[in-house]
Amino acid sequence: MDQGFAETLAAARVGADWAWAELYADLAPSLLGYARGRRAGDAEDVIGEVFLQVVRDLHRFEGSSGDFRAWVFAITHHRLLDAQRRAARRPVVLTPDPDHHGATAPGSEEETFARLAERGVRAIIEQLPPDQRDVLLLRVLADLTVDQTGHVLGKSPAAVKALQRRGLEAVQRAISTRGETLWPIAALNQ
């Protein structure tokens, strides 16, 4: 994305379809992953809203591709917070989660392993305090630097480093507690 980013951005500013398709293809998976990691109920809808806001506010952005990535994740983060607040005001209707129960997941073996891996990882991620969870998700999924993560979360780099260290310690403890069986992909890769 770094290569030709300025041209892509300039084309997106004038409404070029190919530029937006490129930006979407590059960012949507990690944005969706961040929304999933934060347990957003309507993650895909949130991402759609995020991109529409990016289209509206693109004239306000100036910077590199890394800055653009951090900017889009900051929009996503705030959108998720808004969605979380809206959900807190609405009555909660509990529905079965197919990812957790494995009732429906037709697909390839790789996808099945991926879902299993997500199931185990999700259990770990959900146990983390929100600040540590957000830092790890942004660092791992979004490939953001410490400074960019701090920009998204409104925290200092030192605070991000501290949260990252504590989050890694918590994951390490969870691994030693739960054992290796919950990480099939990790086991296969080793």
Partner: protein, 293 residues
Amino acid sequence: MGRFSKLTDRELDQLIAGKAPSGNHDLTELAGVLHDVKDGFQRPPSSETAARHLAAITQMASTLAGDAQASPATETPANSRSRGLLTMRNPLSNTRARLVVVIGAAALMLAAFGGVAHAGALPTPVQHTVSDVAGGLGISLPNGDDNPGDQGDQNAADQDTQGDDNDQGTAVVTEPGSVAQDDQGDDNSQGDQGGKAGHGSKSDKGGTTDQGGDNSQGDDNSHGDQGTSTGTADKGDQGDNSQGDQGSSGHSGGSQQGDDNNQGDDNSQGDQGGSSGGGSGSGSSQGDDNNSQ
């Protein structure tokens, strides 16, 4: 905790990327889990969702780009930025609103100070100014200079510090058992100070205390009371005719204390206090007059 704090930023970045730093084989499993986090969560949206999103994105982008091309001369980023925001209007930009604010402020000031000015209870310079201004408007308000009570209050103000001396003096001269009353006398002198700021109420309170009390405090308060309430002053003074004298002797007592203290400066101040007390002899004489009444 120390395990990860020993890692460098580069090693931590490597671990976050899903690779165990060299020489840290115990972190291999953790690196694998972090790699799984990326693989497990980071998946593209379904093709239908992606198509729907892209259709909305390109439609909005082309619309905004068309708008920008339609008015390129006037459409600057700053303009387009403010288009979607609520414009903040200055609430005082309207002349009528300004007029309402000015009238409201004037009414508020009148309500706040009108009663006090009518009672003549403002500080003398302020009362004088207000009286002049109100007189120009045809409104008669007491002038601070014309109000003997103010003189009394000023005298009382002058005598406040003296009153403290008097209190000390009368603590010895007058009723021996009234030490607590002397303390009240201090309160009274405070009351006189209060009377200096707001004559109407606080000096009257002092006068009330004088009625219940005695000694030189009554002198100070009698001055204050003369300015505000002759009736209470009479009561106080009727009980304290001699105390008025005691009060004057209290002045001398105060200066004598100064002499006893051999505090040269204090003595001179005490003497000045005495002389100012003499200067305020009009107030004292008024007190005497009232007393005679």
